[in-house]
Subunit: 161 residues, 2 copies
DNA sequence: TAAACTGATACTATATTGATATCAATTAAG
DNA sequence: CTTAATTGATATCAATATAGTATCAGTTTA
């Protein structure tokens, strides 16, 4: 059971990059390179996010993408919904004889409850939250390469070595 | 995002039938007919459950399948695990530069926590529990067709008509 | 006007899920 | 002791979903 598909995965990571370099346009190419994603595939993902109003773009030289809203207003939940559709149980179980009374079907009830729990949880995890934690944990070196570089005392952990 | 695949779906419903007619062998054919499942596909599912010790079988005429353990000891969680594999995040996000320190990766942490919640919930939903509720709600007519028929006062709701 | 970009879309490949088909072995019943 | 009902074990196929590639037109800046 795969929770996140590649599209959602790429979407989150792309958004994190945009969130890290807020205010400037970041090209699909640079994201693809830095995050090792297939370029055209990523472009499709980005366009989908434009359609959903999460990001905006600028064409032409020096063009690229930028967040359209505050990172805290982009829950992972929404990305899952966009790229994987809303969580749904196996259609309708017991459709034949066993469960004749739909509104009261136990399993259906149970699963919808669980669905809700999951959705609530993913709603709480936003790009902003991830961004903050990543910053706090100082794993942002590559993303920040230029921009607001965390002046020295940064490489003490030496993770990339 | 599909929570339950057909295999899990069929498995649950087959087990409910076995649970309803406990003590006697129920053939794959009768399950397939009554529950409207593809016969051979169902057989595959049943064999898988035998391998996992959930049910036992008897070959030959009047053969079939029977629960190998108490319904309360069969959590839906286990069925999901058998037929859909353990819940797993999209491999490992941020595998490249962003998240260099795996053990501390935020999103990973969040998702594993959510996974746990889901697993706990599905652990609590057992075949026994479903069975009881179904019984209580008197939606068992078709399953109980013969066997422990709930003497009269049963068809008042007239669902199958 | 050329190069660096996005918009839009069509296409291909791979993996997963769902379903079917076949044949040998076993068992109960007549 | 033969036949029909049944499971065991596999092999194959079809349908769908996911992942990835390619192409070309339009836009913008230098
Ligand atoms: S799950 Fe659909 S009626 Fe029970
Ligand atoms: S998800 Fe794998 S290291 Fe962060």
């Amino acid at each position: 059971m795969k929770v996140l598909t590649k599209k959602t995965d790429y979407a989150i990571r792309a958004l994190l990059m945009l969130g890290a370099k807020k205010g400037s346009y970041v090209s699909a190419k640079s994201i693809a390179l830095e995050q090792d994603m297939p370029y055209q595939f990523l472009r499709g993902v980005l366009q989908e996010m434009i359609r959903h109003g999460l990001i905006v773009s600028k064409e032409g030289v020096q063009g690229g993408f930028m967040l359209a809203k505050a990172p805290d207003e982009i829950p992972v939940r929404q990305l899952i919904e966009i790229f994987q559709g809303t969580v749904q149980v196996s259609e309708c179980m017991f459709r034949k004889q066993i469960c004749a009374n739909r509104s009261r079907c136990v399993l259906r009830h149970e699963i919808m409850r669980i669905e809700e729990v999951v959705n609530n949880e993913f709603e709480k995890v936003t790009i902003g939250k991830l961004l903050r934690t990543l910053r706090a944990e100082d794993n942002m070196r590559s993303v920040l390469k230029d921009g607001e570089a965390p002046d020295s005392q940064t490489r003490q952990t030496g993770v990339m070595s």
